[in-house]
């Protein structure tokens, strides 16, 4: 196995001694932007924006909850899209993107449920209610966890990807059907009592929400790139192990030609 790398790439970084991590100039810039946005978000969200007339300071939880929830759905959608592309193109990059998006989706999904319940307790006086949006969000989280579970248990590289991509492909359609049916189910019993979010947010509060979305989006993108590279590295390690295994296998063949009776365990 040779470690020869592309000369054009190494020249630029020659003296910098390429560090062994998943960062690059692009992610550093993105990371700094994300940090700046995070700082702004904290200032706007916790300090500069006024409390809501009805919700009081609890509105500040929404500056976390809403961006995180949107990113959760974005992660799930991205998983489905990447799975579809993998099934069509079979290029390993799409597979890596699907894992990365799904794992980020699970993290942001957990946060969505967590911040949602924390907001729900003082607002509705309960951590959980059988609202359509809550129920379908929880189900999506379970589906994503199942997706990752399948990825983890299958030992063969390509088999695991095929299984997982079909599961990933079904993910978003499932969410749509689940959401649609749950929405209809709840609207029978109570006329949408808990979905008052939109009307009262304006002015500085709207700015805070927007800054939150920008900051969340930047963090998500930065993290996605890093997680994607981790998945990519996993594929590379697998490939290198494979090369080594092929070499070892051939060597075993050369050795045992002399004595064909040798029986490797």
């Amino acid at each position: 196995m040779s470690d020869v790398s592309d000369p054009t790439e190494t020249e630029a970084e020659a003296e910098a001694e390429v560090p062994a991590h998943t960062g690059s100039r692009a992610t550093q810039v993105l990371g700094l932007a994300a940090l700046a946005a995070l700082a702004l978000w904290v200032l706007y969200g916790l300090v500069w924006s006024p409390p809501d007339r009805e919700m009081g300071d609890l509105v500040r939880l929404l500056y976390v909850h809403v961006p995180v929830a949107i990113l959760f759905y974005a992660g799930a959608g991205l998983t489905t899209f990447a799975s579809l592309m993998w099934l069509r193109r079979r290029s390993p990059g799409w597979d890596a993107l699907a894992v990365a998006a799904a794992e980020l989706g699970v993290v942001f999904g957990a946060l969505t449920l967590l911040t949602g319940s924390i907001w729900g307790k003082p607002t509705w006086n309960t951590f959980w209610t059988w609202d359509a949006r809550l129920t379908s969000t929880a189900l999506l989280e379970v589906l994503l966890i199942g997706y990752l579970a399948v990825r983890r248990v299958d030992p063969s590289p390509s088999g695991g990807s095929t299984r997982a991509s079909i599961l990933g492909l079904l993910l978003f359609p499932n969410v749509i059907i689940v959401h649609f049916s749950v929405d209809w189910w709840r609207s029978l019993h109570q006329k949408a009592t808990v979905t008052r979010l939109d009307p009262t947010i304006e002015g500085d509060m709207l700015v805070a929400l927007m800054v939150g979305m920008a900051a969340g989006g930047l963090v998500f993108a930065w993290l996605l790139i890093h997680r994607f590279r981790v998945a990519w590295l996993e594929q590379q390690v697998e490939r290198h192990d494979l090369d080594a295994a092929v070499a070892a296998r051939r060597a075993e063949g050369q050795l045992s030609t002399n004595e064909p009776e040798a029986q490797p365990a």
């Binding site: 248990v153 299958d154 088999g159 095929t162 599961l167 359609p173 049916s181 749950v182």
Partner: protein
């Protein structure tokens, strides 16, 4: 194509006829759960009666998971997967055949369970056209989704535990729709049962199509 579907369905049903897993294990399990619900929800307070449609479909869903799991394990025997891949059967035909066999078993089970809730829960059985249509649609939906997902976990050591985790959340809309339709059939007010039945039909169509398209890739995986 349809000849192959019939061939595979016939094989699965014949295996069921010989091994009697559905009749000797799944059906008694379903009845047992119905009885356990009666212990958990006091029959005298009327809770049981109002919850009957939901309980009925929960039992069908769990039994369906067992039936689907069994249907998948039939093909886990040594060398069968290879033989299936070599056989020249279209993957979609294998999928439809297996799903059809599960549908046949579940329909019989549902008939038994309808009788059981009528007797044990004193359910006000009525609205038979709606009930029949819902049963048909929901059974196709459960079987198609189940066979597709059991193909997804085929060959894994943890397939029996993973299958319910993947399958049950996906089937939530079927549970909701079929339950509402039954409530309407049993005479509850203000529920448009036929529309709920339509939702279940839509779900069934989506999963039959998805299964036909995806099963080939799963057999390879």
């Amino acid at each position: 194509m349809w000849r192959d579907v019939a061939l595979v369905a016939g094989r699965d049903l014949r295996i069921e006829l010989r091994s009697r897993v559905a009749t000797n294990q799944v059906a008694p399990f379903a009845l047992l759960v119905l009885i356990l619900f009666a212990f958990a929800l006091d029959p005298d307070t009327g809770v049981l009666e109002s919850a009957t449609p939901g309980l009925y479909w929960i039992v069908v869903l769990f039994s369906g998971t067992l039936a689907v799991s069994r249907s998948g394990s039939v093909d886990e025997a040594d060398g069968v997967r290879d033989a299936l891949r070599l056989s020249g059967l279209a993957p979609a035909a294998v999928f439809l055949g297996k799903a059809a066999a599960v549908v046949a078993q579940l329909l019989v089970l549902e008939l038994v369970l309808v009788g059981a809730v009528g007797v044990l829960y004193d359910a006000p059985l009525a609205g038979f056209p709606l009930m029949t249509a819902t049963c048909l649609a929901a059974t196709v939906a459960i079987a198609a989704t189940g066979v597709l997902y059991s193909g997804l976990v085929a060959g894994l050591r943890v397939r029996d535990t993973l299958l319910p985790l993947l399958l049950l959340p996906v089937l939530a809309p079927v549970l909701i729709g079929a339950t509402r339709a039954f409530e309407d059939a049993f005479g509850a007010d203000g529920i448009r049962g036929w529309e709920w039945c339509g939702l279940v039909v839509l779900f069934a169509v989506v999963y039959v199509v998805a299964g036909c398209l995806a099963y080939g890739a799963l057999l390879e995986g």
